[in-house]
Every structure is written in C-alpha cells, then in structure tokens.
C-alpha cells in the first residue's frame, strides 16, 4: 500500500512535469495535430482520480499516457468484480459502439434491499476515470468526433440554410450544432441534427 502511494505521487509529479512541458510546446507552431489526448488532460484526470481516492489499479492505467480498449475493459472488470462481491448482479451482454468507441453493454441489479450507492462506489473506485476518458478523450473518441464533424458540417450548414438560419461562413461544427439546437428550441419540427443523422452517424 505504501509502495502504491509512492508510485501514485511519483506518477502525479511526472504527469505534472510533462503537462508543463506539453503546455510550453503547444504554444509554438509545431504543436501536435494528431488525435492523441494531451498530456495535460491525462495529468488532470490523474490528479482528480487521486484526490477522489481512486484505486491505484485504475490510476496506473494512465501511466503510459493512453487509454486503450484493453485498459477500459480491465477497469470495468475490476468494477464489476467489486459490485458482484457486494451482492449485485452485473451481467455483461456484449459490447456496443458509442461515440466511436466500443463500450461494454451491461445491466446492474442490486441485491434485495441493496443500496445502489455501493455499486456506484465500486464504479468510481475502479472504473469511472478510465471509462470517462475512454469514451470522450481517447484517441479513438477524438478521431471519431473529428470525422463526424468533417462529414456532417456541410449537410448541417445546408440544413440550417434550408430552415433560414444564418450562420457565419467560417462557423465551426460546434457553432453549427449550437445554431441547430437554438433553432430546434424555437421550432421542434425543424431538427437539423436529426435530419442529418447526427446521433446515428457511425463513421
């Protein structure tokens, strides 16, 4: 346990230093444009997980600076084992694709008079930070979001124009999405995000 704590502190220090370097480097014109998650974002997650008392087995998965599906699955299995040990039934029915990444499809049934908070505690301790990072900040998730933006920007712009919504010529995909939501708020039947198949786009 003591050894683990020492390793955690070491990891945090290493990540913080790396984040500082990464921040300095990213200010220059040669900043990386690949889909890798930034070192400082990983360092931030590690700091948060450490502060929240996440299990070292979860934090160690960030050591190499990337989260893979294997990392995700390992963390989720730790969580499921913890929940099962607490009396929950957590059957995994397979995997599904969500936002460009593969995630486990599972349900959770508490024991009789069981408190779901126990399973939540297991999840936070063993899997939450890895799960969250995997689904939104992994290179797969980032690449998917970029592909989706590249593929849907033009039809989204065209859809908005069809509904008479003015958007700047150089509007980003996020700005186009915001405009679509704003228009949807006014007219529910003019849903550009639905029209272009945003939610069902698989890349």
């Amino acid at each position: 346990m003591r050894a683990n704590r020492g390793r955690i502190v070491g990891t945090v220090v290493l990540m913080t230093a790396a984040a500082t370097v990464a921040t300095a480097c990213s200010a220059g014109p040669s900043a990386s444009t690949d889909n890798s998650p930034s070192i400082d974002s990983i360092a931030a997650v590690v700091l948060e997980a450490t502060a929240a008392g996440a299990d070292p087995s979860q934090i160690e998965l960030f050591d190499d600076g990337v989260i893979t599906y294997a990392d995700y699955e390992l963390a989720m299995n730790h969580f499921i084992s913890c929940a099962t040990d607490s009396g929950f039934q957590v059957p995994v029915t397979g995997t599904v694709s969500r936002g460009g990444v593969t995630v486990l499809n599972y349900t959770i049934t508490p024991p009789r008079d069981g408190d779901i908070a126990l399973a939540d505690a297991c999840y936070e301790r063993y899997a939450y930070y890895v799960d969250s990072f995997w689904q939104t900040s992994s290179s797969d998730a980032i690449a998917f979001a970029e592909r989706r933006a590249a593929a849907l920007a033009a039809p989204l712009r065209q859809c908005l124009a069809g509904y008479g919504v003015d958007v700047a010529q150089d509007a980003s995909f996020d700005e186009l999405t915001a405009a679509a939501i704003e228009h949807l708020s006014v007219n529910q039947q003019e849903n550009c995000l639905s029209d272009i198949g945003y939610s069902s786009w698989e890349g």
Partner: protein
C-alpha cells in the same frame, strides 16, 4: 263701343313698359346709391390686430383598428421510435417529469428546459445539454450533485435511476425517453396520436392550445405618416397601455407586448386604438385668420402689415387656430392681414 272694337289698345304696352322699366330703374338706383359715401363704414377705421403667439406641444395621433392574431398551438414532437402504448390526454396541464405518453410500454416524460436534449449522454460527456440534464434530473429529485456540465459519476447514477423508473436498465441517457415541452409547464389541447400508432423521431404527438402570435394594426390608407409626424417613433395606446409600434409594420409581435395587449383587450380580441407619436412636437399656435395664402399657394404670417412675410407650413389646428413650426421664433402676428393691401406679398 267703337273705341273698343276699332281703335288701338295701349294697355299691353303700358304693362310691358312697366315690367321692363321697373328693374332697370331699381338697378340704376342701386348703382347710384352704392357710389355714395357710407358714413357707417367710414366711421370704423380698420387697424391691424396684433396677437401674441402661443406655444404648446402636440403629439401626432391617429386612430387604427387592432386585432389579436391567434396562432395554432405548438406541436410537441417525440424522438422515440415504436408503438404508442399510452396516448397523450388532452385538456390537462403538463409539468416537468409528468408522463405524457408511452412508447413500447416505456413512459415518455415531459421535460421543461430552455432547450431540448438532442443526443444520448453518457459518462464523460460535457456541454450545455449535460447542464440541462443535470437541472432536469435535479428538479425531479434524481440528481443532487453539482451542476457542472460534466456527465460524472453522480449524474451517471441519477440517469440510471431515472431510466430504471422507466424500466430501462442503462447508464446512458436517451433523449427519446423525454419529450421537451418548452421552458415552462404546458397544456395539451389535442392528442395527435392514439394507442397503436407508430411514431418516429419528429412525429408530433400532441398540440398545445392556440396562442396569440401577434397583434395586427390596420393603418389608415397611405400609412400613418399621412396623419402627422411620427419620425420620432410611435406608440400604440390602448387604455392605459402604451406599446412601442413600428410605423408601417402593421403588426406587433414582441411576445411580452402581445401578451400585455391581449390582457388589456380581454375578453375582446379587437378594438379601435390610437397610434401616437412617441415624442411630442413643440409648435407655435397662431390665429387661423393670420394665415395668408399667396397666389402660388405659399402660406405666410405677418408680424406687422409692413413687415416681410414669414412663410409657414401649417402642422395642424382647427377652425380658429393653426399650428406652425416653433423654430420660426414668432412672438406676435397680425390676426387680420386680409383687411390690408400688404406691401410685401406672400410668395415663395
């Protein structure tokens, strides 16, 4: 007897002479008398009457008819796919969290928010829609964490609990599990689907009550500008209510203003109202008799009968007085210039 039958009769000639001579004699007498001096008129000397000029403020006003335009109620649209197993009930008030209808036996709950949810939300997601979801689940008692726009572990638990209430064991929020009804509670005036109907994303399932979308203002022919100077802006006046009005637009569609007008008119939906210039105009008030119109149509007033004319443009007035531009700085005018041969004629 012989005179009667054989002599010449003078009677008709006498009558004819009388008929012709009397008018001629009368005209001659009138002509003779009219040239004689009139002691009465000569006894009253005509003098210029100088009157001070008053100043006041006027606001151009005209009468218009207005009418509330009712618009068909807003449709509530589902994002769910499947068979309707519980239909919306017309006539009721719907609050956030109420079950509006069901698809494939999964209840679809009403969501009150400033904007709808539009994508599935799961662990790690961030954004304004996550904030709306946090607020929504917080209002229903499922979520007690911070409203930070990040789908964290607490929101994950809340979503799971919300889903389980609809018999869905999932940690991902599906926007089809709710139906956005706007930013406040709503009323359902009409159900658009029945049990057994198929619905897809975008299918309207209920309609809200008709609402006042605007107030039509019927301006006079030629527009309001013909009734005065409204260049400073105009207001629609209904009783004590004064609402800004864009002249020429023919409509008021600002939601708050429309509602205020609806309230002011209720239970009626149309009436006569006044359009009034927003800023009063300062004018000089002169006697109507002080205005002299020249041969070319120019209108003038005179400070004295010997002074140069001051060209004016009547802005309004009545039988006894006229309103002219205050910037001319008039202090006194001749009220009876028509009684004199003016030395400076009124021309442009």
């Amino acid at each position: 007897m012989g005179r009667l039958s054989g002599g010449r009769s003078w009677g008709p000639w006498v009558v004819l002479a009388g008929l012709l001579g009397v008018p001629f004699a009368g005209g001659a007498a009138w002509w003779a008398l009219s040239g004689a001096p009139n002691p009465t008129a000569d006894a009253v000397p005509v003098a210029p009457i100088h009157v001070p000029v008053d100043y006041t403020e006027i606001a151009a006003t005209t009468t218009v008819s207005i009418e509330v335009n009712n618009h068909e109620g807003v449709d509530v649209v589902t994002q769910a796919t499947g068979t309707v197993t519980l239909a919306p009930i017309a006539g009721g008030s719907v609050q956030s969290g109420d079950v509006i209808f069901a698809v494939n036996d999964h209840p679809i709950r009403a969501m009150v928010s400033e904007a709808p949810l539009w994508r599935s939300l799961g662990t790690g997601d961030t954004g304004g829609d996550v904030i709306r979801l946090e607020n929504y689940l917080s209002s229903l008692g499922y979520y007690s964490g911070v409203i930070d726009g990040t789908f964290g572990r607490d929101l994950r638990s809340a979503v799971h609990a919300f889903n389980m209430a609809g018999d869905i064991d999932s940690f991902v929020f599906d926007p089809a599990s709710v139906i956005w009804i706007g930013d406040s509670e709503a009323r359902i005036a009409q159900s658009l689907v029945a049990v057994g109907d198929m619905v897809n994303p975008g299918t309207p399932i209920a309609r809200g009550p008709d609402y006042a979308a605007g107030v039509t203002v019927e301006e006079p022919p030629g527009g309001i500008a013909t009734a005065g100077d409204f260049s400073s802006g105009a207001e629609l006046v209904v009783g004590d209510l004064r609402a800004p009005y864009q002249t020429g637009s023919g409509v008021i569609d600002d939601a708050d203003t429309v509602q205020a007008l609806v309230d002011a008119l209720a239970p009626a939906t149309s009436t006569l109202a006044q359009i009034q210039a927003a800023t009063p105009l300062r004018v000089a008030v002169v006697p109507a008799s002080s205005l002299v119109q020249g041969l070319d149509g120019t209108v003038c007033v005179y400070a004295t009968i010997d002074s140069a004319p001051v060209k004016v443009v009547p802005l309004g007035g009545g039988v006894a007085s006229s309103q002219v531009d205050a910037s001319l700085g008039l202090t006194e005018v001749v009220a009876n210039p028509g009684r004199f041969n003016l030395s400076h004629p009124c021309v442009s």
